[in-house]
């Protein structure tokens, strides 16, 4: 074992910044007066910016930098994911500020918990070792359970947190079991070593294939839980609905980025040897998610639940990209999840800015005639919905296109999967259209004209504009994602 030196800590600089900022904010929150706490929002945003700066300080395109004996990997994938996590979290902070303000007694805890959750995700996507993966995952999970439960007088939220906690713990247990099997097989916790050892085992000892498949199955199930893929999706709608909207915004948009990072670390990097096996497993999960997610969303009356099912269907698409098991597929996956998190943040941004004290604005009927009451908000939601439905030229279309391209490239044997994906993309467009219909075609139920604070409106406008602009010219983002996996680039 090598001794840790300061130089060896350098790759972890962003995490260290985040950790220090989180700890500082915790203390600040505990020892400051109510008036001073007004600074919390500013300080939390500042910590995100500082961390983002630390990430950009030395972006790692090229060979991954494995420090702390391979526990921690610094590479382009991690860096890009971290930047977008911080970006999406920043959006959530802006959208949720007034919500946080209105819950004075827990005020600071929101920020501190979110920062720690993000820290967990950052560790997770940089993991080079099963232990790091588990550590990051649990840090993220515990913080998010607490975020959902924080509003303790709210019965629905507490119930959601309980479900989230029990199912999340179960998923962690299953994942851990798979990891222990892997350790038993290979005698290593390091992902790269595991991959190498599995390959030797595979070629020399055919008998261990059963055990390998077992370990793989448990790990895929654990992943599916975290993604919310069918049939491990039960917690998702309840958590989305139960958590306060500002919290849902965070839970919906940011952790998916981490889940993608974790999936790429575990499956292609750690278990690349078993690619055809997990391809088949993911194909089933993807199909089920597309079907259940899209059909389930149609039946919802609550926008948060609808978005939960829509998330499940998007997870189906992400799994499609993952199972294509090619560099262009992973690049499509990265592109997809980034687009997804930006779009979701915008969707919840609109919801939060329309919410009032005592009115959550989360029923679909609340949006009736929004075009009459607040045309720009309606337009922002129109863009978000059309983008999520994958209608060109919006950014969601390019994301879906890349995934379909990656799956079509797999060859004619997978054509059923492609056809199902296409068919359910059409079925899925129905519930997004219904939102547009509700906002534009229906008469308003009340005359209340909701209005949001200026900063929220500006950021929301920028967020929507970003989706439109990237739709017209998605090359920069596609190029970035391609560069992470060494594909595409310049013709």
């Amino acid at each position: 074992m090598m001794m840790s030196s300061v130089a060896e800590l350098r790759p972890m600089l962003p995490e260290i910044v985040m950790l220090v900022a989180g700890l500082f904010l915790m203390m600040f929150d505990a020892f400051s007066t109510a008036k001073q706490r007004g600074w919390m929002h500013f300080l939390a945003t500042l910590s995100l910016l500082g961390t983002a700066f630390a990430v950009t300080l030395d972006m790692h395109f090229g060979a991954p930098d494995r420090s702390a004996s391979g526990l921690f990997v610094r590479d382009a994938l991690g860096d890009v994911l971290k930047l977008f996590m911080l970006f999406a979290t920043g959006l959530v902070f802006v959208y949720g500020r007034h919500y946080f303000d209105s819950k004075r007694q827990y005020f600071g805890n929101f920020y501190v918990l979110i920062l720690f959750a993000v820290l967990g995700m950052m560790v997770l996507v940089s993991a080079g070792n099963l232990v790091t993966i588990y550590m990051g995952l649990e840090l993220m999970a515990l913080a998010t359970y607490a975020i959902v439960a924080l509003d303790r007088d709210n019965g629905v939220a507490s119930e959601a947190a309980m479900k989230y906690f029990v199912l999340g713990a179960l998923a962690s247990g299953i994942l851990l079991y798979g990891m222990s099997l892997l350790f038993g097989l290979t005698g290593s916790l390091d992902l790269f070593e595991i991959n190498a050892k599995l390959l030797t085992l595979f070629n020399t000892d055919g008998g261990s294939l059963v055990l390998m498949s077992f370990a793989l199955a448990f790990i895929v199930i654990g992943l599916a839980f975290k993604f919310g893929a069918v049939p491990f999706h039960m917690w998702l709608p309840d958590v989305y609905e139960g958590a306060p909207t500002a919290m849902t915004a965070f839970i919906a948009s940011v952790p998916k980025l981490a889940a993608v990072g974790m999936a790429i670390r575990l499956l292609p990097e750690g278990l690349g040897t078993l690619t055809p096996r997990w391809q088949e497993m993911l194909a089933l999960l993807a199909m089920a998610s597309l079907i259940v997610g899209n059909l389930g969303a149609i039946a919802q009356y609550n926008l948060k639940r609808m978005l939960a099912y829509s998330t499940i269907s998007h997870v189906g698409f992400m799994l499609l990209a993952l199972l294509s098991a090619s560099a262009s597929g992973y690049s499509a996956l990265l592109f997809y999840v980034i687009v997804y998190s930006i779009s979701t943040a915008a969707a919840f941004g609109v919801m939060i800015s329309l919410s009032r004290e005592g009115l959550e604005f989360d029923r679909i009927d609340d949006f009736k005639g929004l075009n009459k009451r607040s045309p720009w908000m309606a337009f922002a939601m129109l863009i978000v919905m059309a983008s999520l439905a994958g209608i060109p030229p919006l950014i969601g279309f390019w994301a879906k296109l890349q995934v379909l391209m990656a799956v079509v490239a797999l060859g004619p044997a997978w054509k059923t999967l492609v056809l199902i994906a296409a068919l359910f993309a059409v079925i899925g467009s129905y519930y997004y259209l219904r939102m547009i219909k509700v906002m534009y075609f229906d008469e308003p139920e009340s005359d209340a004209t909701p209005s949001a604070a200026l900063d929220v409106r500006i950021i929301l406008a920028m967020n929507t504009l970003l989706m439109v602009a990237l739709g017209f010219y998605s090359q920069p983002l596609a190029q970035l994602c391609g560069r992470v996996f060494g594909v595409g680039g310049i013709d």
């Binding site: 391809q279 391209m405 079509v408 797999l410 044997a413 296409a422 075609f441």
Partner: protein, 530 residues
């Protein structure tokens, strides 16, 4: 200026639309004028394009090409040929007319109405100009949103149902085309349409691709039995929406056949032409009969549209029968007939829907039984309506005659009974149109409401007269159109006669089981053998 003329006619309307949206409801009169001015500028530019277009060249002109998404070889590639150019002009013309037609009629959300039509205009022109498949698809799909909103916001009582049905039908069709496009991209490494026209594809691939394209365009045009969205969409859409839908959007289906199905999958199209021909004949005859019994004027004209579009698909696919018989001249006649029919139907159907709009604005009913003797109270309008009715049944001297006559002539050359069946449709067309005219315009004044009708306002007069002028002009003198089309049609005939499948052996698509084994072997990078 010619080097970016196409971009200008695509983006100018869209930007004007955004500007109109920005002007705001409070200054709606200004917004209307800005919108009209913008659409007239686009019309002027497309006339300039017509003037600068070099006839006698089969290839694309006014070509623009720059990388858009180099990561996937998607280019912003534009160009028009003799087939696309008249359609661009038609789009510019009809949009201006529609904006005038909606002047006083639209009272709510005026800016959004005008903006939606302008954006739609830009997107439709984009469809006709795109020579990159992905660019085509983007315009093709993006078009749905403004039309969805037009039907849903300013439409009739069942507008929600109609708009969602319209959207889902079209989206369902086109998503399979998208997969086809992706497949072709992976086969060829480019999205350039011209390259795909040369791309060798075996029988099985062509077969799958043909159906992918067919689904998309048959829904759009629409063909029996996927036509059911059209009557609903037409009945519920506002007058302007119906006019654009009938005059231009349906043509996009026909244009898609010409651009994609015919040249990219010539063998499959030749082999499956009989299905399309059969469906077209069902459309012209069966849908014609359905039109006969309609009680709602708009629905009647909607069914008549489907029937007329049957002539288009008939012309396009009969060309195969003729070409394989070694009669390329007759095949050219069939293709040109189909294309002429598209243009003519653009003027006539827009006029018919416009006329129904004129009546509806006054009486707020579209039921035929509520009318009678309108000619007595509205002589000018009655005159126009009767003229357009005649054009709709294909009376010689109107543009409606040219296309149908060419298609029937070609059909007779292919097979007498085919021609006979197509000609029957003319009689049916005359029957439902003339009967409609008789019930609404002739006879005694039916009731006091009809008695109180006042004749056309100058605005309505402009709309009617413009469309009548074009119908008459191209009916008497179609040469400008046929001259422009001729070289492109001849090239298309060459393309459809190519036997692409003969160039390569059977494809991997043929046997799934074999390929499954092969694919899993290739994909497992670490070398896992089953």
């Amino acid at each position: 200026m010619d080097s970016y003329l196409l971009s200008l006619v695509i983006w100018l309307p869209i930007l004007t639309g955004v500007a109109v949206l920005g002007i705001g409801e409070k200054r709606a009169p200004l917004a209307r004028w800005v919108a009209l001015f913008g659409s007239l500028v686009v019309l002027a530019l497309s006339v300039k394009m017509w003037a600068d277009f070099a006839p006698g060249i089969a290839g694309l002109q006014f070509v623009e090409n720059m990388p858009w998404m180099p990561a996937f070889s998607i280019n912003y590639r534009l160009g028009v040929d003799g087939i696309a150019l008249p359609l661009v002009l038609l789009t510019a013309l009809i949009t201006s007319v529609v904006l005038i037609a909606g002047w006083e009629v639209i009272e709510t959300k005026i800016c959004q109405y005008y903006a939606a039509f302008l954006v739609l205009e830009g997107l439709m022109i984009g469809v006709f100009c795109a020579s990159d498949a992905m660019l085509f698809y983007v315009f093709f799909e993006a078009m749905l949103i403004p039309m969805f909103i037009i039907i849903g916001v300013w439409g009739g009582p069942r507008r929600v149902y109609a708009s969602i049905k319209f959207f889902i039908y079209t989206f369902l069709g086109s998503i399979f085309m998208l997969i086809g496009l992706i497949y072709l991209y992976q086969k060829s490494g480019t999205f350039e349409l011209a390259a795909w026209h040369e791309l060798a594809l075996d029988r099985t691939e062509q077969f799958w691709l043909f159906w992918a394209f067919f689904l998309a365009f048959a829904v759009k045009i629409p063909m029996f039995p996927v036509h059911t969205w059209l009557p609903d969409a037409h009945v519920e859409a506002p007058t302007g929406g119906s006019m654009v839908l009938a005059a231009i959007m349906l043509k996009i289906g026909g244009y898609g056949f010409v651009r994609f199905s015919l040249p990219i999958t010539p063998d499959a199209s030749a082999e499956l032409a009989w299905i399309v021909i059969a469906l077209s004949l069902i459309a012209v005859i069966y849908i014609g009969l359905v039109a006969l019994v309609q009680e709602d004027m708009k629905k009647l004209v909607a069914y008549s549209s489907i029937s007329h579009m049957g002539f288009v698909t008939l012309g396009l696919f009969i060309a195969y029968m003729l070409a394989s018989d070694g009669r390329p001249d007759s095949a050219a006649l069939a293709l040109q007939g189909g294309l002429m029919q598209m243009l003519s139907h653009g003027f006539v159907s827009a006029a018919m829907f416009g006329a129904i709009g004129v009546l509806y604005d006054r009486m707020h009913t579209r039921q035929i039984k509520d009318y009678g003797g309108v000619l007595t109270t509205m002589p000018w309008f009655g005159g126009f309506a009767v003229f357009f009715g005649m054009a709709n049944c294909g009376l010689p001297g109107t543009s409606g005659f040219i296309g149908e006559f060419m298609v029937i002539l070609a059909a007779v050359q292919a097979n007498f009974w085919l021609g006979f069946a197509a000609a029957t449709a003319l009689i049916l067309g005359a029957a439902y149109t003339l009967w409609l005219i008789k019930r609404v315009f002739f006879g005694e004044v039916a009731n006091d409401n009809v008695k109180a009708l006042h004749d056309l306002t100058p605005r309505e007069w402009t709309v009617m007269a413009t469309l009548a002028a074009y119908t008459l002009f191209f009916g008497l003198y179609p040469k400008p159109l046929t001259d422009v089309m001729q070289p492109s049609v001849v090239k298309l005939i060459e393309q459809i006669q190519v036997k692409k499948a003969a160039e390569i052996p059977e494809s991997p698509l043929a046997d799934t089981a074999d390929v499954a084994a092969q694919a899993s072997g290739v994909d497992s990078s670490a070398g896992v053998a089953p």
